[in-house]
């Protein structure tokens, strides 16, 4: 078995590029989904807003400027192949250095505070990033990045339902969370839902779910059906683009599930605003 060597400098360079690219350019699948949604939107104001959002996306990618002033909390999901040997330093430091360089050279806003309730002093460079690590077979490193804006993250929710609440309880909680998020969280949304696992893991699942391409259904047909049903219902809530009222509240809902304790039914809903910035690389 050969061990593949990857130097931290390569990781820093690639992280820097993927962060800047994500901040300037919305993913192609999401742009296409918005274009489709525009035709489906019944409200004239809603249509105009979707058009404005698309125009903003064109300007930010052409001029290479931040799509949204809230350049977000940098969140990474890193899968490290077990046959990889990282050289030259720590992978955590390398990722943070990539974020630091992207913030400075990419003119991103520093949006993190050192502590939540004491001084709340700005860290100045968007570090430390939140990094989830996983070890997988193989000799590659896969890095997924999302810039999580405060406005939509603030409207995300988690609940520990009772098993007796069942599927109906889950649906109600998801729809209520979307309705309450309303104009505060910049719809059209992409909604990530995590059901099962533990208290904390349900939220991780909800966040991970947001990386799946728009329009791609879950391979489990029961979950795929639930995604479609909830998406249909979400768009009858009336929230509409930026909450001004309309028929396009969400462009997609992604659900992930996990095994669960016999006493529990954890549900987490991660709301993603239209600044749907994420990116993936493989090294």
């Amino acid at each position: 078995m050969m061990v593949r060597q990857i130097h931290v400098d390569e990781i820093t360079q690639k992280v820097k590029n993927m962060v800047m690219d994500a901040e300037y350019r919305l993913p192609e699948d999401f742009i296409k989904a918005l274009e489709t949604a525009e035709a489906f939107e019944e409200s004239p104001t809603g249509k105009e807003i979707i058009e404005t959002i698309l125009q903003n996306a064109r300007v930010s990618s052409t001029e290479q400027v931040a799509y949204c002033q809230d350049t977000g909390y940098p969140v990474f999901f890193v899968e490290i192949g077990q046959d990889v040997h990282i050289t030259g330093g720590s992978i955590k430091d390398a990722i943070n250095e990539g974020v630091r360089q992207a913030t400075k050279e990419g003119y991103l806003r520093a949006s993190l505070a050192f502590d939540p309730v004491f001084e709340r002093k700005n860290t100045g460079d968007n570090t430390p990033a939140l990094i989830y690590f996983d070890v997988v077979p193989g000799d590659k490193i896969k890095i997924k990045f999302a810039a999580k804006g405060g406005g939509s993250e603030n409207q995300s929710k988690q609940i520990m339902l009772k098993p007796a609440d069942g599927l109906e309880g889950v649906k109600k909680f998801v729809l209520k969370t979307i309705a309450n998020a309303g104009p505060n969280a910049c719809p059209p949304f992409t909604v990530g839902v995590g059901i099962g696992g533990t208290f904390d893991y349900s939220a991780v699942l909800a966040k991970k779910a947001l990386f799946r391409p728009i329009g791609e259904r879950h391979p489990d047909p029961r979950i795929a059906m639930l995604e479609e049903e909830l998406l249909g219902l979400a768009n009858q809530l009336g929230v509409g683009p930026l909450g001004f009222g309309g028929t396009v509240t969400a462009v997609d809902i992604k659900i992930e599930i996990a095994p669960v304790h016999i006493a529990s039914l954890p549900v987490a809903v991660n709301i993603q605003c239209h600044a749907n910035r994420h990116n993936e690389i493989e090294i």
């Binding site: 949204c68 991103l108 806003r109 309303g182 001004f244």
Partner: protein, 189 residues
């Protein structure tokens, strides 16, 4: 769709009286930026000294923390942040003469009451369209709390900055009214 109104800061009672929820407005003139940290400090300073870092009479506060400007830019991307987080501080500022705020999302009942009482409005700008909105900002200068970085108080000059009246002085709410039209299912609170 209503006609677009062009108005210039500072705002007077006469201008405010004429604004109704849903009106589209192009706003020009000087406005001040402040978000969470600046609001907290401003009102702490006011408690201690009886003074604010700028005279709010007739003025408009834009809830924004912009990205840094690239070379050649006046300001970086500069869209609105969610307004309800400032609800705790807004009634006091309206009492002191502030006439308008710009943000995104709902305001709470205490702010809606204060808008009626002090004759003021809350404008919504299109959230997340920061690259476009920054083109309507022609100058930017930090006037207080520079140590807060993106949360420092800036004096901006607007040229036809597009907003919608979200809450007027009559109790109107553009989000509530707009959503009612398209709401086909009700979710129990």
């Amino acid at each position: 769709m209503s006609d677009i109104k062009k108005i210039t800061t500072p705002l007077t009672d006469e201008v405010i009286k004429d604004l109704k929820a849903g009106d589209r407005v192009l706003l020009s003139g000087y406005v001040y930026t402040a978000r969470d940290a600046a609001h907290k400090r401003m009102l702490e300073d006011y408690e201690k000294t009886g003074k604010l870092p700028f005279d709010v009479k007739g003025q408009v506060i834009y809830y924004v923390g912009p990205t840094p400007p690239k070379p050649g830019q006046v300001i970086g991307s500069a869209g609105p942040t969610t307004a309800y987080r400032m609800d705790k501080y807004t009634p006091k500022l309206l009492e002191l003469g502030l006439k308008g705020t710009i943000g995104k999302g709902w305001r709470g009942p205490e702010v809606k009451e204060a808008l009626k009482k002090h004759k003021a409005v809350y404008f919504a700008a299109y959230g997340g369209t920061a690259a476009l909105l920054s083109k309507h900002i022609k100058s930017s200068e930090i006037i207080a709390y520079e140590d807060l970085g993106p949360e420092a108080i800036r004096k901006l000059y607007f040229e036809d900055f597009p907003v919608i009246v979200a809450n007027d002085m009559y109790g109107g709410d553009v989000f509530e009214e707009g959503q009612k039209i398209y709401r086909k299912i009700e979710i129990d609170p």
